[in-house]
Symmetry: C2
Subunit: 336 residues, 2 copies
């Protein structure tokens, strides 16, 4: 049987409330008694019951993470980083995968809300209106990764600048006709990149961008995009993510098109696999670990702040446009 604070109190010869204090607010207890309590707790292997604590304090100590697809390496990395950072801060994390089903997002958030202090929504696909409604109704703190929505707290990367870097790079290599193989139309990142495409093309002046439409953000989506790219006459293509780029590469090879000889390819994310394929992907690296850690930090700050009663200046709730970096590798080369 697990021992409780009662047992510790009995063994240490103090009251149960002293046990509670000695363990969670050591400075409010005499050194001697604290040591007695600690000793007793240790020998009994005492471990506070978290449900009881939650019931008394109203705080769970847990976080929730909702993501579109764990089998997408980008989201796997987000998840890995989130749970690592959360644990370092003393929080456990519930993970819920929507399987790219928009309708699951509100459902999962509501479900998690019952047992967490806050939830991180990674790249949610729901509309702004639904998201706002969710925030109002879910009874929990929320923070977004790779998505913005009104003044909701969020952490994002600078996709617009990423597109600019990619386009400049391609232009410098001589490319003037560039295709874009987009991702899910509900994806905020995709919308950002499309916007970036427009402004960057204007800045550059002499490049034309060919929007090929939306594809599944996975290998097969890239395969599908490849044929459209080749038919478009573009000499370079920007792919929504690395997975698609890999599919694109595979299909190009099947069709006997050399990369980067006849076609240059740039993508987004820089997943671990990006350097593993051959040729290695030229890609705009999104700082996934930083996004995840920042989101956890911001969320825990929100939680602590509310707990301690919000003194001091109102904290900044978002970190927007974290810098991205173009990694030039093997899939881009001079136009010929």
């Amino acid at each position: 049987m697990r021992s409780t604070a009662r047992d510790v109190a009995k063994m240490a010869g103090v009251s149960i409330s002293t046990v509670s204090r000695a363990l969670s607010a050591p400075q409010k207890v005499a050194t001697g008694t604290r040591q007695k309590v600690e000793q007793a707790a240790r020998t009994l292997g005492y471990d506070p019951n978290l449900a009881a604590r939650e019931l008394a304090t109203g705080r769970t100590g847990n976080l929730g993470l909702v993501i579109p697809d764990l089998e997408n390496p980008f989201f796997a990395s987000v998840t890995k980083a989130v749970q690592a950072r959360a644990r370092a801060a003393g929080h456990a994390v519930f993970v819920a995968d929507t399987d790219e089903d928009t309708h699951q997002e509100p459902r999962l958030v509501r479900s998690l809300a019952r047992q967490v202090d806050g939830v991180i929504l990674c790249a949610p696909r729901v509309t702004d209106a639904e998201l706002a409604a969710l925030e109002a109704a879910a009874h929990t703190r929320m923070i977004l990764i790779n998505r913005t929505c009104g003044d909701m707290p969020s952490v994002t990367a600078d996709h617009v600048d990423g597109v600019r870097q990619a386009l400049r790079h391609l232009r410098a290599l001589g490319h003037r006709h560039i295709a874009y193989a987009g991702g899910p139309s509900r994806s905020w990142a995709d919308q950002q990149r499309r916007a970036g495409l427009t402004t960057a093309a204007e800045e550059l002046g002499d490049v034309t961008v060919d929007d090929l439409g939306a594809f599944a953000p996975v290998f097969s989506g890239g395969m599908a995009a490849a044929d459209l790219v080749l038919a478009s006459g573009a000499t370079a293509v920007l792919a929504y993510n690395d997975l698609m780029a890999i599919g694109l590469l595979a299909r190009a090879r099947e069709r006997g098109v050399e990369v980067p000889g006849e076609l240059s390819v740039v993508s987004f994310d820089d997943i671990p696999l990006a350097v593993a394929v051959s040729p290695a992907l030229t890609t705009v690296a999104v700082p996934v670990g930083m996004l995840a850690r920042t989101a956890v930090d911001l969320l825990t700050e929100m939680i602590d702040e509310e707990r301690t009663g919000a003194v001091g200046p109102p904290a900044r709730r978002s970190r927007l446009d974290l810098p991205v970096e173009l990694k030039v590798r093997g899939t881009t080369g001079p136009r010929r």
Copy 2:
């Protein structure tokens, strides 16, 4: 403010215990009152406080999952399947990544044990002794995936048969000298495959197996293995997992060695990426979704059984040696 069972009771004009019954044991309540309660609960948006329920019942409704590395696609798939199945059964799941650090395993299990009804340990690297000690001390139910330990509940795939299938396939193609690029020595799957190698080689009689040692179960490990393979004179290689095989392929290409022309490669897992690389991987498919779902089902059975007081015959606690299937694709061909 969230409403409680008190509020519902008041509105429905019944006692608080009737509310509890009406909602969790509807058959123990008159139809009329049940409807009143349900109605009140609905209009108030009542949602039972889980911490209070846990405190009263001793059950959390949560599961824990401990895995070596979320960025390994195999484990990402396990995680995805586990959380999907668990949610379908009404459980939320905590995910904890050890980052391939053996010492984190007991730590994380103990930590999770406080807030779950059971934990799934996926491919743990700790020794049998440590695992047994952990089970004894952790105060929670545990089930293993891809690992056995005494009579602990576990779910495994038939790696030995997988090796046999792979070796027969290679032998049929004319290969007689086959290298093995192993994974982490603490990996049970690796040990199984080594054992399978010995027995299969004996069965076949005329093939020699060259054990190249242990490599990191990732892309770079495969790169490292590649040079040893080429130096060994083997005409085919068995790689611990698909990730390594992909690394191996990349390095072979760098060195101008054609696959499958000059070297055949077989690996394990059949991660989504296996069909995405080129040539597509010939690999022994491990039924990852089935492993995960079976583990969840078995674990929830254990939980329910204990709750209801274990009537009926003792249930089987393990599902061992789930069938694996060799997928012949592009990385294997006749010896020449």
